[in-house]
Symmetry: C2
């Protein structure tokens, strides 16, 4: 029988996708350069040359079985070792390959991690504004997603609301820092307070609570911003990572799950990820991409343009009267709309060919998201359009 669950999902249209489609159509009419498309979080800088070089060298290899053969279900051993060594070097924890599971991007990492540490009926808590795809990932495990309302002053964690929502049923807390859609990086104070709270709750309830830390934007952190590594604060931390943004290759679907080596069930969770893969038919990320990424493990694309764009936008928008927490990383900024209904606001913005995403689906009505992974000159030109938009509200 046609599975109703997935059929129903087709009815829920994605606002972001609809806007991106509108932008594409509009570009055909007035030219791509005249549409200020801030809808999609698609990295705009090229992959590092060293990655390309490695890819070409692997692809040219005469030993096609070594390059294109099956990967073990947990990932190629040498690749897992390189990921573990890099994390250990950078963050001081003693990661070994036993703590690493290679995945198809952060999406694959999150879906596996969530399945490994939730049972049906468990509660997973996350914090608004949040990445809307968390809903299907959590739903797919049989667990229930609860969203803590935002602290809109800081876009850090709203601890009052969080503590009120917490119950014995919560087995996973899911955070995303640096954050999509807000651009905010959780401070040491935030992470420490969260960790202390979870340690206390683990004791109180007598069961494990896992902190799943979604970190695809880890390498896009701006100058002088404190960006603590979550696993250093909490034993039962499962880090989900993607190379999509750091190396500018979102289409190649490569990332990993890393379980804190201090977590007593670390190796068990990693091995379970291999079994989850069998069930969902995922198997493992492509061998060629695993090998290429492992070779440039500590490199990133030239990510500096994102900070340039952020500064232009932050200065420009605040001058125009927009209220906005300054982003500490990512390529997102998250201003308050100039009217209560952000959907109406973003609709009005289309008049000036500004493609903005209302944040209702991120759990934060009244705000909008801009993905500024677009050319800097276009960011600059867009400010005149924002000026016209702001005038509409005077």
């Amino acid at each position: 029988m046609i599975a109703e669950e997935f059929k129903q999902m087709l009815g829920q249209k994605s606002v972001i996708r609809e806007l991106a489609e509108y932008a594409t159509e509009r570009a055909k009419q007035i030219g791509y350069e005249n549409v200020f498309d801030y809808s999609l979080g698609n990295p705009s800088v090229p992959v590092p040359q060293a990655f390309t070089d490695k890819l070409v060298s692997l692809a040219s290899s005469k030993d096609s079985m070594a390059v294109h053969g099956y990967s073990p279900s947990l990932g190629i051993t040498s690749v897992r070792e390189k990921v573990a060594a890099s994390l250990s070097r950078r963050f001081g924890l003693d990661y070994k390959k036993e703590h690493i599971f290679m995945t198809s991007g952060a999406a694959g990492a999150l879906a596996h991690a969530l399945r490994a540490v939730t049972e049906k009926g468990d509660e997973v808590i996350t914090f608004a504004p949040f990445f809307p795809e968390y809903t299907p990932y959590v739903h797919g495990t049989g667990a229930i997603l609860k969203v803590v309302p935002p602290d809109t002053d800081t876009l850090q964690i709203n601890f009052d609301a969080f503590e009120k929502m917490f119950s014995e049923k919560v087995t996973v807390v899911l955070i995303n820092t640096p954050n999509n859609p807000s651009g905010v990086v959780y401070s040491t104070e935030t992470i420490q307070k969260l960790a202390d709270f979870l340690v206390q709750k683990e004791k109180e309830y007598g069961h494990d609570i896992y902190l799943i830390s979604d970190e695809p934007y880890r390498e896009i952190v701006f100058d002088h911003v404190d960006a603590p590594y979550t696993a250093n604060f909490y034993t039962n931390t499962i880090t989900c990572y993607s190379f999509s943004k750091s190396l500018s290759l979102p289409g190649e679907r490569i990332g990993y799950v890393a379980v804190n080596p201090k977590c007593p069930d670390a190796a068990l969770i990693i091995n379970m990820c291999g079994q989850i893969s069998r069930v969902i038919g995922h198997n493992c990320p492509p061998s060629l991409i695993q090998l290429a990424v492992a070779d440039v493990i500590d490199l990133t694309a030239d990510l500096s343009v994102y900070e340039t764009n952020m500064n232009i936008l932050y200065d420009g928008l605040t001058k125009l009267g927009f209220s906005c927490v300054k982003p500490g990383g990512t390529f997102y900024i998250f201003p308050k709309a100039l009217e209560e209904d952000a959907i109406a606001f973003c609709k009005r913005a289309l008049k000036y060919d500004l493609i903005l995403v209302p944040a209702d689906s991120f759990g934060c009505p009244g705000y909008f998201r801009m993905a500024y992974c677009i050319p800097t000159e276009k960011v600059e030109r867009s400010l005149a359009a924002f000026e016209k938009l702001a005038k509409d509200y005077q």
Copy 2:
């Protein structure tokens, strides 16, 4: 909480994996060339040069976003079009991109197809001998897998047993032709009889019954063997394909779901696959590999060695008194063990450094599988070891 379901799975050791590990260890002692490792279905011929050339050219591209950027969730449009055109050309059905969903290999294709057309409690029927990974794929959907016992004379479908097991609860019949582990290709007569039966049952029960046809070995069919294309016989056919074997790149995880264009819900099922992807965090296969494969869509690696090896083994083994249906394709052969207990038989074979897989986990006790994707000279040398093994039973 640690998910018990996946934790329990860790307890079930894979016989194939254990044997492969034994073979690796043994090779360290006596040299790789002296271990006749027939355990793993890992393609042994190089990828086609045209694939490598395309891969290098894509990887060298200056437009890194076009190569490494996000793929739409159903697959890159031009790739889906090329797959559809190739299928239409070869099999005469009118496939369009709307009927194609790009996946991570046949595993991904099967897991998506099964999720799309089963509800909890539905029954999925397959036929022994069968690929053991069907168990987790079906289990993951909440449906129940029922296995029809084999017709060991022909290794075609045992229709008597099938018809007895069939009930209103069956919504999917899952076949694999050319077959892993038997090497047998279902004949036109078999497919036609199956299709006729399903048409009759759809009428009788008043609901759709989907035929999921798992075809990763479609391009490995030996001379003069009749290899009908399943979808040409039955409207509600969902074809699951992988390029792993045809292009010798199992590690690159690339395949597709193709729904028969005549199936009334074809486009719906494909769109639902995109939603299933969101839930399991799969997203889509790597952009680079999608693009490269699409460019060589009608090519295969040089697969002729498999037929050479098959003939040597078939002749050699039957001369030694083994009973065996002659394979029509794949790189597997499926003889009867020389004692009732195939596990004991395969254990004894290790004495002669023959790594054979007992077929108990394929639903066919008393038989064993050999994957002859190994060098021909090794196949030839292995016959002396088989001779010694056979003598043990005289």
